[in-house]
Every structure is written in structure tokens, then in C-alpha cells.
Symmetry: C2
Subunit: 430 residues, 2 copies
């Protein structure tokens, strides 16, 4: 019977067949310990020379790391480890024999590994991160649908910039001049809420980002959600609901993966509790107390985010920032016109900013003024202003950076491991 | 109590509040019939002058199409139509009064509507298509996860072309030369199967497509699935399972939407039955019988696809095409080296090709020869050849064009209505 490795638990004493790859092999004379992976999991198979024909034992001896194999055997409980199963090999066949697999057990530098990303993905660590990424995406789709958001895809080719033009990729577009690759679909899903009420996009966005940091990519995945008749307060509630749903989904579905990554599960569990809120003003005060020399009116750097969250078990909202450092579309705070009704959400354990959101300016005149004041091309924003001409409603939304969430949940240091094929200023291959 | 329109069925006799837009208004002296939409549905509200204060009635009289409104009233069953509910208005407030909404009830040309796509999305038809698109995406994610596929995102920026370079968008990429926008993530998810076994990508892809047809966009959504240890037969089974899951999901969840679009539900129900299979050779023979002058070795045109499926209640697979007209990565048919183990799936009712799939060439030597024979740059494909050097396995996959499926399921003539913000050779806005 053909099974996937996770199904072996239900087949103790039965003979099953696995199809996969030889992840590792240790031999001890007439016994060979074969670590097999099949995409769904990892298992140890024990091949004993005395139980196998000469032909099959020769095949076991010949098999190299990363050879593809079909292997049959009897499922047994691991003698010592609860919930772990083994395969007592009865048959073994190599499909394709791999020679000189370039990624050995020795340490490789990051450039070597990135050059071999198409193979590096096979490592336990990368397998675990890929699966956590998928789990996070699944949790996001599920939570948003539960809250009556539907997916509405925003375009990648856009004629204008959502947030400044300095980091835009520009591309000639037939006879229509230049197109820019989208940095955010927000303006587009703002249009769609007047049709479907609540919606989100979720796909790649692009920044011609010259930063070489552990948190920057030129191509990354962003989910933007937008809801009609949702104010700043509802927006925060929704963001918190989403992040806590992600944590719970991963804890429930990615135990093996989190164990491989040696992620501190307790810290994740603790983060699933009401989030802390600071106003920007409070955050600056707090940072000063903690020794930061940040000035009121400045954006928070990595160090500030780390300082602010280092003793917090839960993510921290920083809300109501100075309007001078925030984009034109954010709604001004009715209680203080120098501030806007926005928030950043800072993850725990050095995870940094994972969400940025705001209530949107829904007043036609105020929005027009802001567009003009920022020197944006008025005609490019007429369609966006139409949304305030015809049936404007209070509305809010936020964007969540997928790789940053993957980085945080998986406890990975560098963001390049949080996307299958990372693209940075210095990397376009493989 | 604030509710969404679909929840009104549970609130008969209760006073509820809706937040939404005035879709339409008909007045008959002291009675006003207000068609309200809230993103989740549409409902008729009946405002009677005699039941309302002067202020509220004045507000009702003032309200224009597309004004945003908050409206309260008592839920009543429609006197004649089963399952339909109305609101007997007790309160009515305009949030923002819309003046001169540009899309009137009169017929507009497609260019006018496309120029106003950000508003046109609000129409009943476009609302229905947006929701069906979301339902199809949800069905795809659910079916694939059920079959143990996980999402692995392929990159958009790529150094090489998957299927020929004539329709590629090229973009300067820092100091690394040119990048090309991906036309398909297939090669990348082929790499990932050796890690996760079965996976899919699902996102935008790009073709610098100069065709102006009802079926072409420059930016569209594609889902590519790939499975290790899946042969051609398993591949077809998987494609059929997915398409039938999509049909069932939409029939179960999009009744209102399909009704708005006047989609023939019976035809969709009938398509959820075992699909027909022709070999390419059989298809050509059949086409000749039907009067086509297609020659063996040619690709099928729209007309041929229509001819072949016109009397079929179910989609039709056409498998095992001449290798001369198919890409290098398709596995040759062991029974006939001039053919490949591939398939196209043609939808019913003029839906055209919605899927293309194949078993992949897993033999290093044969694949190397094909790459060389097609004049592709060998060095760009070394990483792809690595997948045959280290643990090659029989594997197959397919790509499904989201907009084409949306077009088919929703019964929409033109593909530009099947994506929220279409991009074509002549359109980059809004």
C-alpha cells in the first residue's frame, strides 16, 4: 500500500510503500539506517542485510544522498520515542542515483546556498519554512473569509505610484508610455469595497529597494485588506484577530515544522493574548525612557522597534502617527489634525513591523488637498478621487508583509529564507 | 442591530440597520423603493412618507444613485417571492451624497466602462463576477490542499524564459542585466517538489501579448500545480478532480451570483461528470469529420476547440500532442517518440482551453538534448537540469488560467470582465 509518511501512524504492523528521496544514510556493517523524506514528512528506515535479497541489499549500499527511491517495509513504533515510527525495510529500489550532491553536511556560506536555492529548499529547515509559509497563507485566507472579506486581485502594472516613486520598477508598456510594478494594491481594493464591501488582495509586490538588510527583498508578498464602514478601531481589532488566527493555525498545524526550526512555542502561545497599544506619542516617550535618542516626528528604526518590544509577550500597536511622515491617503485624527488614524504592528522577539494600516481619508476636499500638497499628479488620481465623489464611506485597511510574518513565526533570522526564490539587489537567480 | 443583507432572512420582524449604497431608486408619490447593496447582497427597502418624519423623508427624496447610506427598518418577507426579503424603512441617513454618477442605466461602450472600471465594478454583473472569481480561487486552494499540495510561490523576476522570449516583458534589474517577468512558475515549482512533494503557485503572470482577442490579457492569474511521482494518468485525474471541485463549489456557494449572470446552471451541473478524452490524433480526425481543414501537426484554434466541444456536456481532454509543437520540458510518449505525454483541457460552451499540462521529461540526457536542440542557453538551464541530476522522479503538472475559468463558469463573453483591473495592449488604466 502506498502511503505518505504522516499516514504511517495508522499502519503499524502493515507493509507499506513510500516514494521519496534518501535524505541521509548511516551504515553500521550489516545494518543501514536510511533517512527518507517524501515531501510530507521524514522517517527512518532500517535495512538489515539478513532480511534482504542480495540484489536489494546491493541497491541499499549503492544509494547516495538525494537519490530518488521507492522503499517498502513494515511500519513499527520507534522503540523509545513516542509518536515516532520506523520502517523495517523489505524492498528498496533506486529510481535515479544522485552523484556528488553539491550541498554536503558541512557549512556552506549564504551565497553558495542561495546559488543552489533550487536544491537548498530540500533541507529540513527550508522544508519547514516552506510549509509554515503555506500555513500562514491558509490562515490568512480562512480568517478573512470568515470575516466576509473576499479576494479581489489588484493589478501589478500600474500607471502611478502608491507610495512615492523612488523605489519603483519602471517598464516600457507598448504605446502607453511607462508602467510601474505595483508596490501595494491598496488604492485598487479601496475601489472594490464599494462593490463587495470587504476585500483583500494577496500577491507579489515590488520595490526597487537598494537596502541590503535582513528584512528587505525587491519582490515580496503582501496582503492588503480593506473594509467599508470599518473605522480605525475596527481596523485594529481585525488586525489583531488575523495575527492571532495565524498564530493559532500554525501552532495547531505546524508542530513538526516548528520543532525542526527549534522555535520557542511557548513564546508564540503567549503572543496569542490581547495586544498592547501605544500611541506614537507614548511610544516615543517610552523609547526615551529606554535610552533611545529618537525625536518626535521620526520614523522608528529597527533598534527602536526592538527596544519597545523586548519585554513584551504580545505584539504592540503603535497608533496615531504624525501626518507629516505618513502617506496622503491616511485619515487625519479628528482630535488632533497633526496626527493620522493609523497603526503599525510590531511583532515580538525582534520580528519588527509586520503590519501597517490606517483609516483612509474619505473626504473629497481634504484628500484633494493632500494630493496637491504632495505634488502628486492630480490627473493620475482622478479615478481614486471618484471613490470620494460617489458614495464615500468611512473605511480602513491594512497591509501585512508575508515574509515578515513567516520570519517571525518560524523564528528565522534572515528574510531571504522566508520566500522560496528570493530576489534582492544582488540576486536574480536561480 | 447591524446586519449584512444575507443575514436578514434570520431577522424577520426585527428592526435592523444596513450600511451600504443606494443602487437604484424608484418613487411612486409617497412611496419610495430603494435598492440597497452592502457588498454582501442586494435588497429592496420600501420607504413610505406616512411612516417617516419629515426630515427622514426629505433625506429619502434627496438620495441619489451611489450615495452611501445607513438605513434601518423592519425585515419582512417579500409578499410574492419565496426566499426574498424586504426592509420597511424606519430610518434613513445619507453619509455622502453622490452627484452625477457617470455610469447611468443607458448602454455605455466598452471603452467608457473600462475607463470607469473603478466604478463599473459596482454593477450587479461585475459584483457577481468578482464573487465567482473569489469562489473559484477558494475552491482551488481547498482542492489542492485536500490532495496534499501546498502553495510555493514562484518568482516574478526571472533571468530566463519558460516558453519562448517573443512575448516577454523585459525590465532592467540593477547591475544584473535584464530581468523578465514570469510567464509561468512551472520550472520553479518543479524544483520545490523535491522538498514538499506536491505544490502549486497561484499568482499573476505576464505576456507581452499583442493579440486583441476576447481571451487575451497582458497580466493574468495562473495556477501551476506540480506533483512528484505523478504520471500523465494521475495528472489528468487531478485536473479533472480540480475542475469538478470548482464547479461543485460554485454551484453550492454562488447561486445568487449565477442567477444575476443568467448562467445556465443545468449545463454546469452536467459538466460535473467524467470528462471525455481524445488523443490529439483522434481530435484531428474528429475535426476533419466536422469539416475543419486543420492539418496534423497544427495547434487547435478557437474555432477547432468550439467545433470539438459543441455537442459535449463535459470538458474534453486532448492528450498526446506532436512534440514538434510543444515545449522542451514535456516528456516524450514511450509508445511514440514523436508525441509527448501532455494534455489540453477544453471547456464546454465555448469556454476554450482552460488547462495545459504534461508529464515532465525527467531524463537528464533527453532533457539536455531538447534544451540544446531548441537553441536555449544551456547555462541558464543548469539549475533546472540539476533537478534531473539529483534525485529525478517521474512528475507531472499543469497550469490553469484563472480568468478563463472565471469566464467559463460565469458565462461571460469577454475576458476583460473576468479580472478586476484588466491590462491589455491598449489599457493600463485605471
Amino acid at each position: 500500500m502506498e502511503v505518505f509518511i504522516p499516514q504511517m501512524a495508522e499502519q503499524v504492523g502493515q507493509n507499506v510503500t513510500l516514494q521519496g528521496w534518501l535524505n541521509n544514510k548511516r551504515s553500521s556493517g550489516p545494518i543501514s539506517f536510511l533517512e527518507i523524506r517524501d515531501g510530507q514528512g521524514f522517517v527512518q528506515a532500517v535495512a538489515a542485510k539478513k532480511d534482504l535479497s542480495e540484489t536489494i541489499w546491493a541497491e541499499v549500499e549503492k544509494a547516495t544522498q538525494e537519490s530518488s527511491v521507492i522503499i517498502s517495509g513494515v511500519v513499527a513504533k520507534h522503540p523509545k520515542r513516542e509518536g515516532v515510527y520506523e520502517l523495517q525495510v523489505t524492498d528498496f529500489k533506486i529510481i535515479q542515483l544522485a552523484h556528488d550532491y553539491p550541498i554536503a553536511k558541512k557549512d556552506h556560506g549564504p551565497d553558495f546556498l542561495m546559488d543552489h536555492r533550487h536544491l537548498w529548499l530540500r533541507s529540513r529547515r527550508q522544508w519547514a519554512i516552506l510549509r509554515i509559509r503555506d500555513a500562514i497563507k491558509t490562515a490568512i485566507h480562512a480568517y478573512l473569509h470568515q470575516e466576509k472579506f473576499i479576494s479581489v486581485d489588484s493589478p501589478i502594472f500600474t500607471p502611478n505610484a502608491c507610495e512615492g516613486a523612488t523605489t519603483l520598477f519602471k517598464i516600457p508598456y507598448f504605446d502607453l508610455g511607462d508602467a510601474y510594478l505595483s508596490q501595494s494594491g491598496q488604492l485598487y481594493i479601496e475601489a472594490a469595497i464599494a462593490s463587495v464591501g470587504r476585500c483583500y488582495d494577496f500577491g507579489p509586490v515590488f520595490r526597487a529597494e537598494k537596502s541590503k538588510t535582513k528584512r528587505h527583498l525587491t519582490e515580496f508578498w503582501m496582503m492588503d485588506a480593506e473594509g467599508a464602514f470599518m473605522d480605525h478601531e475596527a481596523n485594529l481589532k481585525n488586525q489583531e484577530g488575523l495575527v492571532r488566527a495565524i498564530i493559532r493555525h500554525c501552532l495547531a498545524n505546524c508542530q513538526a515544522e516548528l520543532a525542526i526550526l527549534e522555535r520557542n512555542i511557548d513564546n508564540l502561545k503567549k503572543a496569542d493574548a490581547p495586544f498592547t497599544r501605544y500611541t506614537y506619542t507614548e511610544a516615543i516617550k517610552k523609547l526615551h525612557e529606554l535610552g533611545s535618542d529618537i525625536k518626535f516626528g521620526e520614523d522608528l528604526g529597527n533598534d527602536d522597534e526592538g527596544l519597545l518590544t523586548k519585554d513584551s509577550a504580545v505584539p504592540i500597536f503603535i497608533e496615531k502617527w504624525p501626518k507629516s511622515i505618513k502617506p496622503f491617503y491616511m485619515k487625519r485624527d479628528p482630535n488632533n489634525p497633526d496626527l493620522v488614524l493609523n497603526d503599525d504592528l510590531i511583532a515580538t522577539e525582534g520580528g519588527g513591523e509586520i503590519i501597517g494600516g490606517s483609516e483612509r481619508e474619505d473626504d473629497f476636499d481634504l484628500l484633494s488637498e493632500k494630493i496637491a500638497a504632495e505634488g502628486l499628479l492630480g490627473e493620475e488620481y482622478q479615478w481614486y478621487l471618484d471613490l470620494r465623489r460617489y458614495g464615500a464611506v468611512p473605511h480602513s485597511g491594512f497591509g501585512i508583509g508575508l515574509e515578515r510574518v513567516v520570519r517571525w513565526i518560524s523564528g528565522t533570522e534572515h528574510i531571504r529564507e522566508c520566500i522560496p526564490f528570493p530576489r534582492t539587489i544582488g540576486r536574480l537567480r536561480p
